[in-house]
């Protein structure tokens, strides 16, 4: 049998954390009902805890405790527990068995001691108890400090410090123009904006051509119907409308058309006897 490992493995002492606040002293075993010992054991934070408490009863200074008498106390404590609940106390029994072994080793003649020696085992136990004792004491001192909410208090209703974050966006003139160029490059065909432009409608061309035809019986070139002084855009429109108007007048028998060759000048004149509109 070896020394119980120092935690975290399957061979751990394995006691349970007691969540209750008060530390039940040894006196708790003397409590009335059947569950007294069960409760008392549950009050300990495992066998090491119980050992530490027993050791404390021996002497104030943990360095001076007697492991042998500690073992005796532990074993007799468990012996006295007649109504021990085994499943709860398994860890305690493991510890008891180990301590019994340690005790017999310590008492045996020294000639054929195995390794590690019982003294080494005892030293380890000793060191562990010291460390646990030190931490328990430290915890007590820590809890006894001036604690916020118990001994000292913070401002009841602080106004609070506020940091308003303000984002300043950064973009340069170049980025802006570049972005527009990018958009244009990417998507220009998708946008068509129709602009107002000066045009000659078909109706006004009809009026104009037929009234001008009424003035003479001679052939006139279509080009002569263009409004004087019109700009290029209007001239284009007037040309197209006048051409359609000439076709319409010819269709309704009010004018006749002539063209000597392809792309040659288009001429038209009033049909004799036709009434101008």
């Amino acid at each position: 049998m070896s020394v119980p490992p120092e935690g975290g493995t399957a061979l751990d002492f394995g006691g349970t954390d007691a969540q209750d606040d008060d530390w039940r002293g040894i006196a708790a075993t003397g409590e009335q009902d059947d569950d007294a010992l069960y409760l008392a054991l549950d009050g300990w934070e495992g066998p090491l805890d119980l050992l530490l408490e027993l050791a404390r009863k021996q002497k104030v200074d943990l360095r001076e405790i007697s492991i042998l008498s500690l073992v005796d106390q532990y074993l007799s404590f468990l012996d006295g527990a007649e109504q021990l609940k085994l499943e709860v106390a398994a860890d305690y029994l493991v510890m008891a068995a180990w301590l019994a072994y340690l005790k017999s080793s310590l008492l045996l003649p020294r000639d054929e001691q195995e390794d590690p020696s019982p003294e080494e085992l005892a030293l380890r136990l000793h060191l562990r108890l010291q460390r646990l004792g030190a931490m328990r004491e430290a915890a007590g001192r820590l809890m006894g400090r001036d604690r916020v909410g118990r001994d000292v208090f913070l401002r009841g209703s602080p106004e609070g410090l506020r940091t308003d974050r303000k984002i300043t966006w950064q973009v340069e003139w170049y980025d802006l123009v570049r972005a527009y160029g990018r958009v244009k490059t990417r998507n220009q065909p998708a946008l068509h904006t129709v602009r107002d432009r000066q045009v000659m409608t078909l109706e006004s061309a009809l009026d104009r051509v037929s009234s001008m035809l009424g003035l003479t019986l001679d052939w006139m070139e279509l080009r002569d119907f263009m409004p004087a002084g019109a700009d290029a855009k209007l001239r284009k429109s007037a040309m197209a409308s006048s051409f359609v108007a000439a076709l319409e007048l010819a269709r309704t028998g009010r004018a006749e058309l002539a063209q000597d060759d392809i792309f040659g000048p288009l001429r038209l004149r009033r049909v004799r006897g036709a009434v101008s509109a």
Binding site: F153, L154, R155, G156, S157, E159, G160, L161, R162, T163, D164, R165, K166, I167, T168, W169, Q170, V171, W173, D175, L176, V177, R178, A179, Y180, G181, R182, V183, K184, T185, R186, N187, Q188, P189, A190, L191, T193, R195, K233
Partner: protein, 205 residues
């Protein structure tokens, strides 16, 4: 005075400091083990005077006493922190489109960009103070239309939107490269018509 404050003064300080609400003299008295009210009043007066030159003041408001920050330190409680952030590519594009085409609706912006524009992008531009809603377009649905602000001009150092370079200038500086063929062809045609910049330079409207 500060060397050895009276114990009543210290108790008052602690009580008023830790209190969640302003306290009346009665509340203070019961708090401090039924202290004498006249003494309390004296102590409060002493403390008021003691704290008068400091960053925190003891004040009475509607018969209740409390500590508060000295009025001239109040600005310290609020700090504005400026952080610089670069405008995202999407936001820059939207801003550019608004600048060149304003006023435009969101649908129009999207049709120009060819991508959907998240509402957050416009929010950022409005938060930056560069874009603002400028009424509604009188078409079905009456969409909100957006325009740039004077702050926009100021940020970019522009006297007016006319200062934005036109398409010709963009091309000259290579900003329209690489140009798609269809796009180029169309632009060439509209140049013949003499109204090339119609789309590009908003200043002609």
């Amino acid at each position: 005075m500060s060397d050895a404050p009276e114990s009543l003064d210290r108790a008052l300080e602690a009580a008023l400091f830790a209190a969640e609400d302003a306290l009346t003299i009665e509340q203070l008295a019961s708090h401090l083990g039924d202290a004498d009210k006249a003494e309390l009043r004296e102590a409060l007066a002493r403390l008021t005077q003691f704290y008068a030159p400091r960053g925190i003041h003891l004040v009475e408001r509607g018969r209740r006493w409390h500590f508060q920050t000295a009025p001239d330190c109040a600005h310290l409680l609020r700090k504005e922190r400026e952080s610089l952030r670069t405008l995202s590519r999407a936001a820059t594009e939207v801003l550019a489109i608004i600048a060149y085409h304003e006023p435009v609706s969101r649908a129009e912006i999207e049709s120009i960009r060819g991508v959907q524009t998240s509402g957050g992008t416009l929010d950022v531009l409005m938060e930056a103070g560069w874009v603002k809603p400028a009424g509604r377009r009188e078409v079905p649905g009456r969409p909100v239309i957006y325009a740039t602000t004077p702050e926009f001009l100021r940020h970019f150092g522009l006297a007016s939107r006319r200062d934005l370079p036109g398409i010709d200038e963009l091309r000259a500086t290579g900003m329209l490269d690489p140009v798609q063929e269809a796009f180029e062809a169309e632009m060439a045609e509209s140049h013949d018509d003499g109204d090339a910049e119609a789309d590009a330079t908003p200043d002609q409207r």
